[in-house]
Structure formats: C-alpha cells, structure tokens
C-alpha cells in the first residue's frame, strides 16, 4: 500500500558543544570518531526514522525525512477529517474522525508523508506528486486520467479558492499514475493530488532517479 521515498544522508546537529567543559568535549570527540560513523551506518540499515544520542547539554540527532506514505482515503461525500494529533503528540485526538459540518465537502485524510512532499527538493517522492498550491476545492482536468503522459509544468488539475482557480502543476515529465482527489473535494495546502510515474530517463543529465517496480503504488485504491 505505501510507497517508500528516497533517503537523505543523516545530518549531525552539534549545536552548543563548543561551549562545553573539557569532559564534554572529550566525550564529543569520542562520539564523533568512534561511534558516529558506525551509528550512521546502523541507522541507515535499521529502517528507523530518527535516532538521537544525548549527553548532558549536547546531543546528536540522526533523522530521515518522512517516508512518502499516502493513505488511500475513500473520497466519499463526507470523508474523513485529518485528526489533530499524531503518534508523537500523545495528547492529540489521534484517530478521531469528525464529520465536516455543512457546505457539502470534506477534507480528505492526510498521511504522514505530507511534510516531505510539500518540501521543495525533498526527495524523489515529492517530485513524483503534484500537490495543492492552496486551500480550497479540487477541480480535476477531465483528460488527466491514469496513463496520460504529461510534461513538467503541465496543468493536471485546479484548486478553487473563493472562486479563483489555482493551477495544480506536474512536477516532472511522466505519466499520471493516480488522481488522489475528487471533484469538489476540500483540499489543504501541500496536499498530494496527482501521483505521476516518472518517464524513464531519455537523456543523460536528467536528475530523476529511475523507479524500481517496488516503488510504484499498487493499483487498488
């Protein structure tokens, strides 16, 4: 069901270490020389999203961008609403799905992948999905059905913001894999709307990585 985005190298965050006492500096050195390279390697292999090493006032955190995971939300008349909480927040009302009151539309569920997707230049997952430029109602372009070839910059849909249409644009050359929103569906800024299969590299220098078959979403909704 879920596709997995590409991984970026871990970024060590060593703020504040400079001001520490000799003991900390020594421990830090030990950490970066002996432990850190091995940790990064293990981290890459582990499938973990985040790893943090702390001691007193300094710490090193290894973090991957979130996976480009997308929930297959049924976009019915009164769809699910994004719950406030998430796993990390604890106090949020995660899992609570409240029906949207009135106005005939609903906001579809948004998975944890949105951060990476909305970020510019995050990973290939982001570049494979056309996201919403604004908050409003989704208006598909009829011709944009799965299999249709598009070029980067093509308009693959619209979002209606107070009656003004804003373009949803293909981020790369490729074929439409799946349209993730329906006509009249409420969408928020950065929401994934149209998934693309990247075109195979035709010329050297194209910086999009080729897709492995396992990276493609399965065909069921």
């Amino acid at each position: 069901m879920a596709t997995r985005g590409s991984r970026r190298a871990a970024v060590p965050d060593t703020a504040g270490a400079a001001e520490q006492a000799r003991g900390d500096a020594l421990a830090m050195q030990r950490l970066s020389e002996a432990v850190l390279p091995a940790l990064i390697a293990r981290f890459e292999a582990s499938g973990l999203g985040e790893l943090e090493v702390r001691r007193g006032d300094w710490r090193v955190r290894l973090r991957k961008p979130d996976h480009g995971e997308v929930l297959a939300a049924p976009a019915a008349g009164g769809g699910a609403i994004r719950a406030g909480g998430d796993g990390a927040s604890g106090a949020g009302r995660s899992g609570v799905a409240a029906a949207s009151a009135g106005r005939g539309a609903a906001l579809s569920a948004v998975g944890p992948g949105r951060v990476a997707t909305a970020a510019t230049g995050g990973g290939t997952a982001a570049r494979r999905t056309a996201t919403s430029p604004a908050v409003g109602y989704y208006m598909p372009v009829a011709a944009m059905t799965p299999g249709r070839l598009v070029r980067a910059g093509d308009v693959v849909g619209y979002v209606d913001v107070l009656g003004v249409r804003q373009e949803v644009v293909a981020p790369l050359d490729g074929a439409i894999a799946r349209v993730l929103a329906e006509l009249g569906q409420a969408v928020e800024y950065g929401q994934e709307l149209v998934r693309l299969d990247a075109a195979p590299p035709v010329a050297p220098g194209l910086d999009d990585e080729p897709l492995a078959a396992s990276d493609l979403p399965p065909s069921e909704a």
């Binding site: 406030g84 009302r93 009151a101 604004a134 908050v135 409420a186 969408v187 800024y189 950065g190």
Partner: protein
C-alpha cells in the same frame, strides 16, 4: 452561537482561543502554515488545516487562504487572534460577504478606527485628551519639519498603520527628523504596506496606561480597569501589570470611565483597548485604540475573572453584554512577563530551535500561557513570543514576590530566552517602586540593564 470557529493564528494565542472555543462547546479548526504543523494548537484542535507555506504573507496574512480554509472546513466564524488579519477591515468585510462572522469589531467599526490620526480626532471629539501632534499625515518632509517646529521638539514619528514599534522614532532636532523620516517611511512601507507617517509631541517621562473595554452591539459597555505597560524596549511591551501604580484609584476610575464613554459614543463594538500616555503629573493623553484581543489580556482576566476571548465570541454572535459596570469587580494585582526567544545581550537577536526541556511554573496565582512543549521546534519565521507568565497576588508586593518564585521555577532549555531580562526587572528598584517609564530601558540600554542587575 457559532458551531465551528476557524482560528486564524498561531503560537500561544491560537491555543488561548482554542481553549475558550472548547469551553464554550464550539468546534475549533486551527489554520496553520507549513512551518507550524507540529504546533500545540494543531495537536489539540478538533481539526487542523494547512493554509500555506511558512511565509506569513501566503498563509496567516492571506485573506483568501484563511477564508477558503474556513469555508472548506465548514466554519461559521473566524477568530483572527492578534496581529496578522486581526484589525484588517477588508478581511472582516470579505468574511461577512461570504456569510461568515469575523470575531472582532464589524468591518465598518474597524474601518472607522483604522487610522490612528482619525481615531484621535474622533475620540478627541468625545472628550478624550490627545497629545499635541501634526495636522494629519505628513505630506512630505517640509510639512513634517514645519509641524515639528509648531509642536516643539522632541517629537515622535509614528506610522499611521501597524504597531510593535516599527516605523517609530523619537527625534530631537530638524536634522534628526529629516534623516529619520526616510527610515521610518521605508520601515512602515515594508511592515504595513503603508508609509503614511505623523508626528506626536514626545513626553519625556511617561507611562503607558491602557483601558480595557467591552461593548456589545446594542451600545452597552463596561470597562475592566486599566493596565500599565510602561516596561518597554523600543516601543515593545515586555512587562505589563494591573492596576497601574502610576495613578491613585480615583484617577484610574476617571480615566477608565472617560475612555468607556468616548468609545461607546463613537460606536465601538466588541472587546478593545484604548492606549494612553500618562505624564508625571498624572495627565493622560489618548494615543490609539486596539480593536482586538491584547497580548496582555490575561492580567485583566486574573483581576476580573472575565474570559475576554469568550466575550469577543459572544458579542460577535450578537449576544447582549448581560452585566453592568457594578458587576465588574477587580481583585488584587497581576503582572505579565513576555517570554521571548531573543538574546538580550546581542541586540535582542531572535532565536529559534528545539525546546529541549519545558516545564512551566505552578502554584497559587500563577498562570503560564504558552504553546511550548518539550521537543517543540520554534520556527524562525514569526515573532519570538514563547509564552506569557502571569502572576496574581492580593497586592503588588506579593505579586512581585510570586513572580520571582515562578521565574526561578520556569524551565525553557535549548534556546536563549529573555528570562534574565525579567529577573533584572524584578530586581530593579524603579520597577519595585512602581515608577518605570516607557523610555527607561532604551535610555539605559537593555543589555546594560541586565548586566547591572546581575552585578548586584
């Protein structure tokens, strides 16, 4: 009453509005920017919707984005918090045009009070004394020089729009004035998109005292006492308290009553604040009105027991006030400390980063309004307010004593804040004596002020 309110703000005020929505049984939808998706308000909201990227202009300041978010989430009202769109009459009008309610004064009231100069003139007509100032906006530098000559130096340059000290400057000579006008104009243009400036006589040693009012749609109003916001650096409030130590009870009563009478007569509606300068002789001059919830409203809540966000909502929904001046009873003394992520020692440089550890103080008479939590990352895009510590005591000395205890208990690890600055305030004889004036900090220099306190 409303079914569902869109909260079009962030930080501690989004949380503050959310709490009152919950209390009133109203659904709360939080509109957030891409930079705020881990915010406490988003975590606690009934629903949260991303309205745009980190850049405020495309999210919290974008009227179409906010309004569209309210519509698609099925809200019937929008609470703008403070700053951003909170006093934007065009936005209030747009909101009404789409069949939603703007929680604040109606668009035409916002429009009437939009110009500072116009408002001074209007409320001056209803009996409020104002500071001698320029005849309207300055047409050009020459007009400015002539008006400054007429008023007498020193004068304060002020922008027609906005607040927070941007575009403001005190000058003591024509030469300083000419230089400053250019700077202020460009600052005002950048901050508010409006470079209109005017002049005011500068009062050397003055206090900032403001009156809290609540007026319903039917012309019934109360004042809820005054607040003293004389602890300022570069025209930004840092510590506020109520009641003001600058005026005796009878003078406070007179000030509050005249302020209320004037705004009711001028047709104000909803919660609002009238700001005054008070000189050494106790004379007061109206300077401007804030048509929204103030950052420092909690100190008045501590004294009165009134929930001001709830009053905003009720009045915007058309409910009558339901009580009279005699029902407003103020008890004790309250002080608010604005905790900012800023490095006082280095020119108040704003700080951002991860809050490694957060633990608010507690106990009797202590309230901490903050959106922080351990692990929260303070984004670099917005103002540096981390939270507001509000202490209450039966009298001013006990409030100060409690403030010291609370400040010592507060834990905000991971980024530099202005806690040391507040410790310095609480050790300062002028503050303890209740004699702080608005220009004291800028005269001494905040860094020197903190260093001096640390040395004692």
């Amino acid at each position: 009453m409303f079914e569902r309110i869109l909260i079009a703000n962030r930080g501690e005020i989004a949380l503050r509005v959310l709490r009152t929505c919950r209390r009133l049984g109203i659904g709360a939808v939080v509109a957030y920017s891409d930079a705020d998706r881990d915010s406490r308000a988003v975590q606690l909201a009934d629903e949260a919707i991303c309205v745009g990227p980190a850049e405020a202009k495309r999210s919290y300041l974008s009227a179409p984005a906010i309004l569209s978010a309210a519509i698609v989430t099925g809200c019937d009202a929008i609470h703008p918090g403070y700053g951003f769109l909170s006093e934007d009459d065009t936005f209030a009008e747009m909101t009404r045009a789409h069949g939603l309610t703007f929680i604040g004064p109606p668009a035409e009231v916002l429009e009437r009070f939009a110009s500072k100069a116009g408002t001074r003139e209007l409320l001056g007509r209803y009996g409020l004394p104002t500071i001698p100032g320029s005849d309207g906006m300055l047409r050009d530098d020459e007009h400015g020089l002539a008006e400054a000559e007429r008023i007498g130096y020193p004068v304060l340059i002020k922008p027609s729009a906005g607040g927070g000290g941007k575009g403001m400057r005190m000058v003591r000579s024509p030469r300083e004035l000419q230089q400053a006008l250019t700077v202020c104009r460009s600052e005002a243009r950048a901050a508010f998109g409006d470079d209109s400036l005017y002049l005011e006589k500068w009062l050397e040693e003055n206090r900032h005292v403001e009156v809290q009012v609540i007026v319903d749609r039917y012309g019934h109003g109360v004042h809820v006492g005054e607040r003293d916001c004389s602890v300022q650096r570069r025209h930004q409030k840092v510590v506020e308290e109520a009641p003001t130590p600058a005026l005796p009870p009878a003078a406070r009563e007179r000030l509050c009553e005249s302020a209320l009478a004037a705004v009711v007569a001028a047709g104000y509606e909803n919660v609002g604040t009238l700001e005054f300068l008070v000189d050494g002789e106790g004379n007061y001059y109206f300077i401007e009105i804030n048509c929204r919830i103030q950052v420092e409203h909690p100190i008045t809540e501590a004294l009165s027991g009134i929930d001001f966000v709830s009053e905003q909502v009720r009045i915007a929904a058309g409910e009558p006030l339901g009580y009279s001046q005699a029902d407003v009873v103020l008890r004790g003394h309250a002080i608010e400390f604005r905790l900012n992520a800023e490095d006082v020692a280095h020119d108040f440089r704003p700080q951002s980063g991860i809050v490694e550890r957060y633990l608010p103080p507690g106990g009797p008479g202590v309230r901490m309004d903050s959106h922080l939590y351990t692990g929260y990352e303070v984004p670099p895009y917005y103002d540096s307010l981390l939270g507001k510590l509000v202490v209450w005591g039966p009298d001013r000395p006990s409030a100060i004593a409690r403030a010291r205890v609370a400040i010592d208990e507060l834990v905000i690890d991971g980024l530099i804040s202005n806690v040391a600055f507040h410790r310095a305030i609480l050790a300062n004889e002028t503050f303890i004596g209740g004699a702080f004036t608005t220009n004291l900090l800028d005269r001494v220099g905040s860094a020197a002020f903190v260093a001096a306190a640390a040395g004692t």
